[in-house]
């Protein structure tokens, strides 16, 4: 008799049910949607939704509904990606000054599924549309920049300590300090070793020159590169986040690469904008010698420039910049203890601090201005057509009198809200890239192609599945139907596990799924063929079931393990889409061993296992 013990049946049933529940969210439609967030100076209010609704209705774009998300953003759902695009156009044309919109896909889950905390599989960019960028970080430049900083600091320290040196310079991957005599070098060495003792220091005599060379240890170099990469990831993430792209994904890949994935982002030109966009500050002295009214009339002094503050009032500033944003090493937001208004505390690097100190010492009692610079994309109507333009917005956010000289640390006030102070601090902190970057790979998929890919993928999965189902049913009769049920189960489990792993479904991933369908039935074919052989040998039906499973097992396992090896290698070597294929194939192979062997046996055991059979329906 073929029977599984009760606990085994229950365990299998449990796994199957769990799989079905986990796979459930994928059954619901994924709506092409637009996520709408408030731009600077705007708050999301109850009226926002009405405004957007009106804009869409005016443009005659049909939409499903507008939801309010937990983070205060609005989500407009559409039924097709065409409507979604026209919807975005409509919103950008009329409301781009106040709202930021981003394309996204959003599953329309009923409340009880949401309550379970289940999410559908993430769709890859090739299925939902978007931009994928691979960025190479110039590590050599990062090292050189660090050495340049050392050169600067060594110079300052030697000068401060009044040690005479000939030159300090960077020669390839070393800092070389030249002295005229051994005595000076000895004095210099004492200064340098205090601060740079962890570097490789060497005294070298070269002709009549006495040198100290400094080089990074391989360990330090690795740390520096790690830091540079991490810093760049943070910077890019902040830039992307600040621009409100829905669900961006920025991650390091390997030793020197960064992957940026922006679902819903559309034209490739915008990409550079997103990565290049940043906000920064400049500190300038106010021109008090000339009249603002004259400047407004067109007579701007050569050494000055006319700016406007946030209320549109003109301010005349000196052209010479005291300090720029890339000299800022740290920034934190907070509240000014005196006035209670939002402020940003800024820290400068050594040269910036010195310059700030010099300028403020010379100009005590005079006003200084803080200029806020931001790149903003605005859609404008040109000849009746919407045109996207990047605008460099420069605004004076505060003018304050210098009461006393200050250096590396100080506060900037004059910001609109604590949120803006927070954002500015964020951008300033991660404002500069630690190393130059270059885009080495870029893939943009339009939303219509993404939808086509989904449709074609679904179509081929369905047709492939049906073809196999019909064939198995006809050729193996009732046992073939069992194979079909477990095949469907296999698909369900793949989807469930992929969702659980947070894996991304890509077009090659769908191909992997289709392939798994074909290969998963192989296990059942092996088993059923074995049963037929046993029947021919004249064994009893029950013995045939047992022998079919037992004897086919080694072939199934050996076969699957070898394919698994290929899949795992694919995973470790592949990038992007190939990884997706490898994941589905791996998950599919493992799931198929469970379904094709264990689940099909459980079904066959419970239906036919306890009966006296004359023949087997195989």
């Amino acid at each position: 008799m073929n029977r599984y013990p009760l606990w085994k049946n229950l365990l299998i049933l449990g796994i199957v049910l769990l799989g079905i529940i986990l796979a459930l969210p994928n059954l619901f439609s994924q709506d092409p949607s637009i996520e709408i967030a408030a731009a600077r100076k705007t708050e999301m209010t109850a009226a926002s939704a009405d405004e957007i609704r009106a804009a869409l209705e005016n443009a005659k774009v049909p939409f499903k509904r507008i939801d309010t998300l937990d983070n205060g953003k609005l989500l407009v759902r559409f039924t097709s990606s065409g409507d979604q695009l026209r919807g975005q156009e409509a919103i950008e044309n009329t409301l781009s000054e106040r709202y930021r919109s981003a394309l996204t896909l959003s599953t329309d889950l009923p409340g009880w599924v949401q309550a379970l905390g289940l999410q559908p599989m993430t769709l890859g960019l090739d299925l939902r549309g978007g931009v994928y960028v691979l960025i190479d970080v110039d590590m050599e430049a990062a090292v050189d920049q660090a050495l340049d900083r050392y050169v600067e600091e060594i110079r300052t320290q030697l000068r401060d300590a009044k040690v005479r040196y000939t030159t300090v310079s960077r020669v390839q991957h070393q800092v070389v300090v030249k002295f005229a005599d051994a005595q000076a070098r000895e004095a210099g060495y004492k200064i340098i070793v205090k601060q740079f003792g962890d570097l490789k220091l060497e005294n070298v005599d070269q002709g009549s020159d006495f040198l100290i060379t400094l080089a990074m240890t391989p360990m330090q170099e690795k740390q520096l590169k790690d830091f540079a990469l991490q810093q760049n990831v943070t910077t890019l993430r902040n830039r992307v986040n600040a621009l409100g792209v829905a669900e961006p994904n920025i991650a390091r890949q390997g030793d020197r690469r960064i992957v940026v994935q922006l679902p819903g982002a559309q034209d490739p030109g915008r990409l550079k904008e997103i990565l290049g966009a940043t906000a920064t500050l400049e500190y300038r002295l106010v021109d008090t010698e000339h009249s603002v009214a004259d400047a407004e009339a067109g007579k701007v002094p050569a050494a000055s420039r006319l700016y406007r503050d946030r209320d549109g009032r003109p301010v005349l500033l000196k052209r010479r910049v005291i300090v720029t944003g890339d000299q800022i090493t740290d920034a934190a937001s907070g509240f000014d203890p005196q006035s209670g208004t939002p402020m940003v505390t800024v820290a400068l690097d050594a040269p910036g601090g010195r310059r700030m100190f010099d300028m403020t010492t010379e100009n005590v009692g005079k006003p200084m201005a803080v200029v806020f610079i931001e790149n903003r994309t605005i859609t404008k109507q040109v000849d009746g057509k919407p045109v996207k333009q990047t605008q460099k917005v420069e605004e004076v956010i505060s003018v304050a009198t210098i009461r006393e000289p200050f250096g590396r640390r100080f506060q900037t006030t004059g910001l609109d809200s604590s949120e803006e102070a927070h954002n500015l601090a964020l951008l300033l902190r991660a404002g500069a890239l630690a190393a130059p970057i270059q885009i080495v790979e870029e893939r943009t998929v339009g939303p219509s192609l993404g939808q086509d890919n989904i449709d074609q993928g679904l179509m081929s999965v369905t047709i492939g599945f049906l073809a196999v189902v019909v064939f198995m049913g006809v050729y193996y009769s009732w046992f073939g139907m069992v194979a079909n049920v477990v095949l469907l189960l296999n698909l369900v489990l793949i989807v469930a596990v992929m969702g659980l792993l947070g894996a991304t479904l890509t077009m090659p991933g769908i191909a992997g799924m289709v392939l798994t369908i074909g290969m998963a039935v192989d296990a059942n074919v092996l088993i059923f063929e074995r049963m037929r052989e046993e029947i021919r040998n004249g064994n009893t039906p029950q013995a045939c079931i047992a022998a079919g499973y037992d004897k086919a097992l080694s072939a199934i396992i050996d076969g699957n393990v070898t394919t698994l090896i290929a899949a795992v290698v694919l995973f470790s070597f592949g990038t992007g889409p190939i990884k997706g294929f490898a994941v589905t194939l791996t998950v599919g192979l493992i799931a198929s061993m469970f379904t094709a062997i264990t689940c099909s046996r459980a079904m066959i055991n419970s239906i036919w296992g306890g009966k006296r059979l004359k023949t087997l329906p195989v």
């Binding site: 047709i463 077009m507 694919l570």
Partner: protein, 311 residues
Amino acid sequence: MREIKLPYIDYMAQRWKALYLSGALLLITFVSLAVQGLNFGLDFTGGTVIELGYQEPVETAAVSQALEGVGLTGVTVQYFGSNRDVLLRIPPSGETSNAALSQKVFDTLAAAVGGKVEMRRVEFVGPQVGEELTEQGGLAVLYSVFGILIYVALRFEWRFSVGAVAATVHDAIIVLGVFSVFQLDFDLNVLASVLTVVGYSLNDTIVIFDRVRENFRKVRKGTPLQIMNQSVNETMSRTIITALTVFLVVIALYLFGGETLRGFSLALLVGLVSGTWSTIYIASNVAILLGVSPANLAVPKKEGEGAGAQV
């Protein structure tokens, strides 16, 4: 449906002819690879690919002309699935920004048809990344072959292992051959497909070897060649049916999966045919030629071994 009765065929009698045929195919492949090589896609060469969807059918010549008009030469223009979908290939050009280039191309072409065109896809791969991918692709094939070689040697015997790997490499090369002879686009998806063929072909080979292993232990008389023949015959129905089911789904992929997966599914189709063939004539043949015999597997393991792995 009753099972199809397959005649008992002395497959191994034809083994020399089969080897010659495979040899000839491999030779053609090598010549083709040496003479014209593979038509590497964007993933490997670097460059820019732009897919455009026109609202109305368009002539590729007109597209080329429009591009040459603004000084964009060396752009390959071809249809992609239909005469409204056009694929442009732009060879790598130094350090030029991709975003600017693709925008220029799109603007030029959009102007030529009054805006009735849609940018469906832009892919840019730097030359550096392309080189890395080529290297990694080669390594991936190599590593998986090694991994499999070791596993099969452990589970069976080294002669089987060599036979299995010979068959697998044969299939991978035949797929490359088809892509080289017909100069089909060889991209990352096709490479993945080649690796899948490796997996499939092995799966097929293992099933027959599994039977050979069993028969070597069970059947005490008969030459290794006879036992091999018997095993191939016993598993033939399974070989055909599995090939058929996989064939069904791959055909579905080829016909309905869209243009992006066409190369992928074609490679699978070729690999499927080659994999079935090589299982019988390459894998078994090589094992026989290496002198595999029941004595190699003399220590009989317990029946149903591996049952513990049942989940």
